[in-house]
Each structure stands twice: as structure tokens, then as C-alpha cells.
């Protein structure tokens, strides 16, 4: 478990950013208070917080955009993230909005409460009172100055300075100055002798004086003190201006200044009321907005961290579903999610091991199955298995070969389909169906069918398959082609019988013949001519019949004789032509030869093969004795089959043919359709052919006559012949 990579739930960077934002917001909030001394930095703080808000908005926007893309792509964990962020935002937004609304209301209400009509009036009245007090003083000073000015009317210029001093003391003025209309100082008297240059009135005052209006005004002086400036016009011999400055008592000046400051401040505040509301609301909004955006951003960051294990789990689960068991998720926390991730890792590891074991087992099963298939495929015994619905489930190569059917076409097909398309297998299918339905244990049956090489006999053994509950699952059956074995047994039996019979019959024949000859020899002279004739006919008959019997017994003995063949490579076409030479003079029968030119040689005993052909030709000629336009067709050709070459000899006639019943037993000894004959001709033919490893079958030709088809294995192949085989195939 990788606890070394565990990190705090929210990154330090997020905390740092939040800290900076909080400090900035606090400074901005403090700056709105005059006492904080941060007023000068207010604009910068406002700008900084606005920029921070924009950055936060961009961050949040980027996160929202990213989340939408993830939702659109249906990425793992995106819906959970969206839900959690929405919940966080809702939790943050709802109380913040309520607090904001009531804060703004409270703020506006508080600011409005500062300003009141009565206070307005009181401030105006206070200022007016101050003004009235000062006005009264100013009017008094103006009046006094105007009164005193009359005293200067008859004073010569050289005495004016002295007179001004006296008048200044009379008026209790701080300064008295006589100014010409050209704004030049004529005379000057000051309470403070150090002041060399008197304070002159402004141009505006002079303009007023030129209009004939006396001036009285309040001038602020140093240290927030005030003085009353009175300037009046004098109608002396030449027009002049008299300026008198009266200090306002410090107490009165101070009070008036306080009233003025309060009034100005109140008026300024009153004027800035809306700005104040707007400014505070802006600050509050910025604080709220920035806090909310920061909260949303933190919500995104923390949600992503919380959801990360869940997302990893979802991706891991998806990977496992797709078969990837190598997924190992990082464990990033010690909480329940960390435990879940760890459990997931354990589970995938175990599933991976189980999968590997299962794969190994399956591989072994496949190997076993392949081995079994190989064994089955190489068995010469046919193997078939059927399910409970009679459908073919398993078969091997030998089964198809024995049945001469491509069983691949019948895989998963019901048994009936086999019989429908192969009527010759009906007996076989019927047997199987019967056993499938009834057999409760091992069974064994023999069944015969007609294959392309004639009658085939099968020995079938089967066993029903049951599951653990005793329910029938199907049948497995093995079968062997017993045709050759049965044939060999029958041949052996016949040979034994023939040997015994030949021996038993032949033994008394010579004494019978000798006795008959002796009878004739001894009695012929003693009997008269008539009796002698009878005796001679009788003895001759006995002798002839014994000869006939001997011939038959010899033939029979020949049939039973153990094979002593001397095979050599023989050209069948030449052999057929040689044998046929003996029968060509026969004018009643036409022979048609259809001999394949490139026929390979066959390894046969030429004498026996000659006998085989003789027997067959004789057989055909005898069968055609009463047939008009008798015709015998002899055809040879080569049959490539399963890597071997077979030479096929077909002999057809247009005689009466063979009945279906006779076809099955025509090669058995003593089976004949002719009046004459030993009944061993075809039996011998078949025996000889089989001794050479060939087969013979009888069938009716398309012209209605009988037909015999011999198939003999070709001589040993060489490379050239192999090539021919390939071309043939």
C-alpha cells in the first residue's frame, strides 16, 4: 500500500491562494474605514481583488468547462463530481446570498439613518448661526470703520499716518491701511509693528469698490484663525480706499471653524451617501463574489480529490470488465475509500490469478480434447455420440469412412437427416434410434447396410449417458466394419466344410468306380447281349457320374485349397484381350472393349486372374444364350482413392440380369441361376479377387443385364504415378 504518496485533501497551493485572497479582502474592507490609514491603497486593493476575482472566475470557468466536457464524454466520476460540486455551490451560495441580501439592506438602512432632516436643518442652522454671529461682527466693524473714516476727511496727507494709528486704536483694529485707487499704499498702521507689508485686498474687492460698494468679508488667516476685512471708499479730495482688519476672537473663530468643518463634513457625507452605499455594496459584493468563487474553486479541487479514487475505481472496474486484470490503483488516503481501493486491488489480483488458472485449466482441457480427437481420429473404429435430442455431437474420421458419409454435414443434425439423405443407412439409424430410446445399459448389435463396395456388416456397441440425476444425456456408440472378418470366417468355414466333404466324398468314389469297372469286366461276358448292354450302360453311368463327382469334388477342393498365389505385375488390358481371344469366334455375341489406355499394372497371379476372367466371361456368355443381339461390354479404368490407385474392371451384359435377392448371395458357394454348373464359379472368382486384396460386387447394368465390377489395387506407386494421382484427384 503506497502510503508514502499520501497527500493532504486540499493542496497547499489552494490554501495559500485562499490566504492571500482573505488578506486582500481584509485590507480592502479596512481601507473603507478612514481610521485604517489604508485609504490611499483602496483603489489598488480594489483593483487587486477585482483581478483576483477575474482570475478566480477564469479558474472556475475552466473547471466548469472541463467538467462539462467530461460529462459529455461520460467519463468515469464526472457525474459524481458534478453532483458534489453542485451541492457544495448550493451550500455555499444559499447562506451567502441570504447574508449578502440582508447585509446590503442593513448597510443601506444604516447609511440612510445617518442622514436625517432634523440633522440637516440643525447643521444648516448651526452654520447660519455662525454666519449671523460673524455677520453681526462684520457689520459692526463696517459701521465703525465708516464712522471713523469721516475723521480722515480733513487730515492732510503728512498727518494721515499718525491719524491712522489713532483711529486703529479707536477701532481696535489689527491693521489700518489707506490705499490709493491705483492700489498703492498711502499710509499704514499695524498692531504688530514687525509687519512691514500690509495684506492687500484681492482684485475682486477692488472691482467691487470701483463699483462704489464697500467691502466687508471674513478671511481665514494662519492657524485656522480668522479676521474681518473691511474696505471702504473715501471721498477725500481724491478718492481713496481705507482697509481695516479686525481679528476675530480665537474662541469665536475656533467655534465657527468647528461648525464649518462639521457642516462641510456632513454635507460631503450627505452628498456621498449614494456613493457610499455603492462603494460599500461594491466592496461587499466583491468580497462575496471572490469568496464564492474561491469556495467553488476549492469545491472543485477538493471534489476532484475526493472523487479521484472513485473515478479510478470506475476505470479499474471497466478495465476488469474488459479483461484487464493487471490494473493496480494508487492508494492515496487512509480512509474508507483507501480501504476500498486496496480491496479492489486485492480482488483484481485474485481474479487475475483465478483467470490465469482457468486459462491454464482450459489449455489443459483443450490439450486433452485435442489428444482425444487425435486418438479418435486415428482409431479404425467408428465413434459417434448423440445428445438426448438425437443430434450428432461427436464423430471421428473412421465413422465417416466406414459409413461412406461426410459426417461433418450432419454435425448437430438429428439422426433422421442421416437416413433421409442416405437411405442405405436406414437400418443403422433405426437401430441407433431404438437403442437411444430404450437402452439402459451397454448394448451390442450387428447391423448390415449396402455400401458402395457391397454389403457391409457392422458390429455396434453403445452405452447410454446419464447425468448425476439419472437424466439421459445421450448415447455414445462405437462400431467396427466386420465385413472382412465375417467374410474370412465364412470363407474359412466353407473351406473346412469343402475339405471335409471333398475328402469324405472322394474317398468312396475310387472304390465305386473300380467296383463298377470290375462289375462290367466280370459280368459283361457272363451276361447275354441285352443284359450286357444294360450292365454296360449302368456301369458307364456309374463311372461317368463318379467322374462328374470327382470333377465336382476337385473343384470344391480347389475352392477350399489354401491360397498359393504367385503375384506379378500384370497389364490387365492385355490379359483381358488375351482371354477374350478365346471367345471372339462366337458369332452370336458382340464384345465391346472400353479399355483405359494409361492403366497401371496390378500385382496379381496371372493364372488365377485368367481363371477369374474366364469364369466371368463364361458366366456372361451362358447368361446370354437366349438373348438376341447379345452384347458384352468390358471396361477398365483407374480410380484414385485416398492416396491409392485402384484398377476397376467392369463386365456388363444385356442378358436377363440378376434379381435383387440373388445379388446379395450370388457369390456364395452353390448359389446359381443356371441349370448347369457347380455353383462355385462366382464363389471362386470372389475368393481369388479377395486373395489379391480386391473387391467384387454384382449389380444390374443400365441395359438390364448383369454386371460385375472388380476393383484391384494398383502396383506400388512411384513418383511419377504420385503426380498422376494428384492430377486425377
Amino acid at each position: 500500500m503506497a502510503f508514502s504518496s499520501i497527500r493532504p485533501p486540499v493542496g497547499f497551493s489552494a490554501f495559500a491562494v485562499l490566504g492571500v485572497i482573505l488578506v486582500s479582502l481584509h485590507l480592502m474592507s479596512s481601507a473603507t474605514q478612514d481610521s485604517s490609514g489604508l485609504g490611499q491603497a483602496y483603489s489598488w486593493l480594489l483593483l487587486a481583488n477585482t483581478v483576483a476575482t477575474v482570475i478566480m472566475a477564469v479558474l472556475v470557468g475552466a473547471n466548469v468547462h472541463s467538467l462539462f466536457r467530461q460529462l459529455k464524454k461520460k467519463e468515469a466520476g464526472s457525474r459524481l463530481t458534478a453532483r458534489m460540486v453542485f451541492l457544495f455551490v448550493l451550500l455555499a451560495l444559499a447562506p451567502a446570498t441570504i447574508v449578502f441580501y440582508y447585509s446590503v439592506q442593513f448597510l443601506h438602512g444604516t447609511i440612510d439613518s445617518w442622514f436625517d432632516v432634523q440633522i440637516d436643518q440643525a447643521m444648516d442652522d448651526a452654520l447660519e448661526l455662525s454666519r449671523a454671529s460673524l455677520d453681526q461682527r462684520m457689520k459692526s466693524h463696517l459701521r465703525d470703520t465708516q464712522q471713523v473714516a469721516k475723521a480722515l476727511a480733513n487730515v492732510p496727507d503728512e498727518m494721515i499716518a499718525v491719524e491712522l494709528g489713532e483711529l486703529r486704536e479707536t477701532l481696535e483694529a489689527s491693521e489700518l491701511t489707506l490705499i490709493s485707487t491705483q492700489e498703492r499704499i498711502i499710509a499704514y498702521s499695524s498692531l504688530i509693528p514687525d509687519i512691514l507689508i500690509p495684506s492687500l485686498p484681492t482684485e475682486t474687492v477692488f472691482l467691487q469698490l470701483e463699483r462704489g460698494e464697500d467691502y466687508v468679508g471674513l478671511d481665514p488667516i494662519l492657524n485656522e484663525a480668522m479676521q474681518v476685512r473691511v474696505v471702504i471708499g473715501l471721498a477725500l479730495p481724491e478718492p481713496r480706499f481705507l482697509q481695516a482688519l479686525f481679528p476675530v476672537p480665537v474662541r469665536l473663530s475656533s467655534l465657527a471653524r468647528t461648525v464649518e468643518d462639521a457642516y462641510v463634513h456632513y454635507k460631503e457625507m450627505s452628498y456621498l451617501r449614494n456613493s457610499l452605499k455603492w462603494s460599500f455594496s461594491l466592496t461587499l459584493s466583491l468580497v462575496l463574489l471572490l469568496s464564492l468563487l474561491a469556495a467553488i474553486w476549492v469545491a472543485f479541487v477538493s471534489t476532484r480529490r475526493i472523487v479521484a479514487p472513485v473515478r479510478d475505481l470506475a476505470q479499474g472496474t471497466r478495465a476488469v470488465a474488459e479483461g484487464d486484470y493487471e490494473q493496480r490503483l494508487p492508494v492515496e488516503s487512509r480512509d474508507e475509500l483507501g480501504f476500498l481501493v486496496e480491496s479492489f486491488n486485492d480482488m483484481t489480483a485474485k481474479v487475475g490469478v483465478a483467470r490465469d488458472e482457468a486459462a491454464r485449466s482450459q489449455f489443459e482441457v483443450e490439450n486433452q480434447r485435442a489428444y482425444l480427437e487425435t486418438v479418435l481420429g486415428n482409431l479404425t473404429t467408428g465413434v459417434l455420440s448423440f445428445d438426448a435430442s438425437d443430434r450428432l455431437r461427436t464423430f471421428n474420421q473412421a465413422a465417416g469412412k466406414i459409413l461412406h458419409v461426410d459426417l461433418q454435414n450432419y454435425s448437430e443434425q438429428p439422426l433422421a437427416a442421416l437416413a433421409v439423405e442416405n437411405p442405405n443407412l436406414e437400418n443403422f439409424v433405426t437401430l441407433l434410434k431404438a437403442q437411444q430410446q430404450t437402452a439402459k445399459s451397454y448394448w451390442q448389435e450387428e447391423v448390415a447396410f449396402t455400401g458402395p463396395d457391397g454389403r457391409q456388416q457392422l458390429l455396434c456397441r453403445g452405452t447410454p449417458l446419464f447425468n448425476a440425476l439419472g437424466r439421459r444425456l445421450g448415447t455414445v456408440m462405437v462400431f467396427d466394419d466386420m465385413t472382412d472378418l465375417f467374410r474370412a470366417q465364412r470363407n474359412a468355414t466353407w473351406a473346412d466344410v469343402a475339405q471335409r466333404m471333398a475328402h469324405e466324398i472322394k474317398n468312396p468314389l475310387t472304390p465305386i468306380q473300380l467296383s463298377a469297372e470290375r462289375l462290367q469286366h466280370k459280368l459283361w461276358e457272363k451276361l447275354d447281349a441285352k443284359d450286357g448292354d444294360v450292365l454296360e450302360r449302368a456301369t458307364q453311368t456309374i463311372i461317368h457320374q463318379v467322374e462328374a463327382l470327382k470333377t465336382m469334388v476337385n473343384a470344391f477342393s480347389e475352392y477350399a485349397r489354401p491360397p498359393k498365389i504367385q503375384p506379378e505385375e500384370v497389364n490387365i488390358n492385355s490379359l483381358i484381350e488375351d482371354v477374350l481371344m478365346l471367345y471372339q469366334p462366337n458369332a452370336d455375341i458382340s464384345f465391346k472393349l472400353m479399355l483405359a489406355p494409361d492403366l497401371p499394372g496390378v500385382m496379381v497371379d496371372p493364372l488365377r486372374m485368367r481363371q477369374v476372367l474366364n469364369n466371368l466371361f463364361k458366366n456372361a456368355i451362358e447368361a446370354l444364350s437366349e438373348t438376341p443381339n447379345a452384347k458384352i461390354v468390358i471396361a477398365t479404368n483407374m480410380l484414385p482413392e485416398e492416396g491409392f490407385r485402384f484398377v476397376q474392371i467392369a463386365i456388363y451384359d444385356n442378358g436377363p440380369g440378376i434379381t435383387q435377392v440373388d445379388i446379395e448371395h450370388i457369390f456364395d458357394p452353390y448359389v446359381t441361376t443356371k441349370v448347369k454348373g457347380t455353383g462355385l464359379g462366382l464363389a471362386i472368382v470372389k475368393k481369388f479377387i479377395e486373395e489379391h486384396g480386391g473387391t467384387i460386387r454384382s449389380e444390374n447394368s443400365y441395359q438390364g443385364g448383369a454386371g460385375f465390377v472388380i476393383r484391384l489395387p494398383g502396383a506400388v506407386t512411384d513418383a511419377k504415378v504420385d503426380k498422376e494421382l494428384v492430377q486425377h484427384q
Partner: protein, 185 residues
């Protein structure tokens, strides 16, 4: 091309709106440095046309601070011009309710002047006479010198609640363009 023309036209209209439509602003009509003895003194005529918002604020006790900057520079061919002298002008215009006068305070020198009307105060504010800027020896002989002057309403000096609005409202953006003139030695 047509699109570019449309944008250009829009920008033109926008600037035209700022230039023609507004009836407030500050323009330096004349400024020069006159040699008096061993120093150059500034004489300038400035046309202050305050916006209604600014005048209204002034009447309601808000002080308006005007901040100007005069620079004397020496032209250089291969480098940026050297600033020889830099002087800041700082005036505060306020209304005194008790005396019903308008006060101009030169924050640099501390001189205060009172005017019976707003017009006279603004007019007086626009006339700068004999303000010493630099001594003659600061100017290198044979070199080309010029001076620049710019003056603007200082928003940062406004009361705090007014500043955000002032930053957002064009009525509070009162600034002259830079006035430049060659200095005759």
C-alpha cells in the same frame, strides 16, 4: 476590407464622441518658461472645464485636487531624452461654507487664496505666473531643450467612496494632453 472599414469608422465615432461631445476637460492653452534673472519661471494659462459632477461635488464640500507635472528635458540624438528637471504642481480647490468662498491651496508652497465665486477661483487656478522651475545653469549651452506639462484631476485624492465611481465615470476623467514646447535659451 469592408469589415475593417466598419471597425475603423466605429472607432472614429467613439473617439469623436469623446472629443467633441463632452463639454468638460482640461486644456493647457499656453505654457512657457521665461527667464528672470538666473532662473526660469513658469507662466501658463490653463482652461479648466469641470464636469457637472465635479462641480456638484465641489459645492457639496468635496475638495478637488489637481496634480500637474512639468518636465524639462534635453534632447539627445542617440539616446532617450534626459530629464533635467521635474516639478510637481499640486493645487486643492475647496469650498468654505462659513465664509461662502472658494479656496485654492497650493499644496507645494502652502499658499492659500480665497475667491468669492467659483468662476473666479477656477480662473485664478488657470493662471500660473512666475513659478520658479529651474536655474539657468542647469541648461547646457548649445543643447536643445524642451519642456512638457500635463495636469489632471487626482482621483486618488477624492473621498474613498467616490473613487470607484470616479474610475468608472468619464465625467471624472479630467486630464489635459501633454503640452510640449521648445525652450529658448
Amino acid at each position: 476590407m469592408k469589415r475593417l472599414s466598419s471597425i475603423s469608422f466605429f472607432i472614429l465615432i467613439l473617439f469623436a464622441d469623446f472629443g467633441w461631445a463632452k463639454d468638460f476637460g482640461i486644456s493647457i492653452e499656453r505654457a512657457q518658461l521665461l527667464r528672470q534673472g538666473n532662473e526660469y519661471r513658469l507662466e501658463a494659462d490653463i482652461d479648466y472645464r469641470f464636469s457637472d459632477a465635479a462641480l456638484n461635488a465641489l459645492d457639496n464640500g468635496v475638495s478637488l485636487t489637481l496634480r500637474g507635472l512639468v518636465k524639462v528635458k534635453r534632447s539627445r540624438r542617440y539616446m532617450w531624452d534626459e530629464t533635467i528637471e521635474k516639478m510637481e504642481l499640486l493645487y486643492r480647490l475647496r469650498y468654505r461654507a462659513l465664509s461662502d468662498r472658494y479656496q485654492i491651496v497650493n499644496e507645494t508652497s502652502g499658499v492659500r487664496r480665497y475667491y468669492a465665486s467659483m468662476e473666479s477661483a477656477i480662473e485664478a487656478l488657470g493662471k500660473i505666473r512666475g513659478m520658479p522651475v529651474l536655474r539657468v545653469e542647469r541648461l547646457a549651452s548649445g543643447e536643445s531643450h524642451y519642456a512638457t506639462m500635463q495636469i489632471q484631476l487626482d482621483i486618488e485624492a477624492l473621498p474613498l467612496p467616490l473613487r470607484p465611481i470616479a474610475y468608472l465615470s468619464p465625467a471624472w476623467y479630467l486630464s489635459s494632453s501633454k503640452y510640449t514646447w521648445l525652450l529658448a535659451q
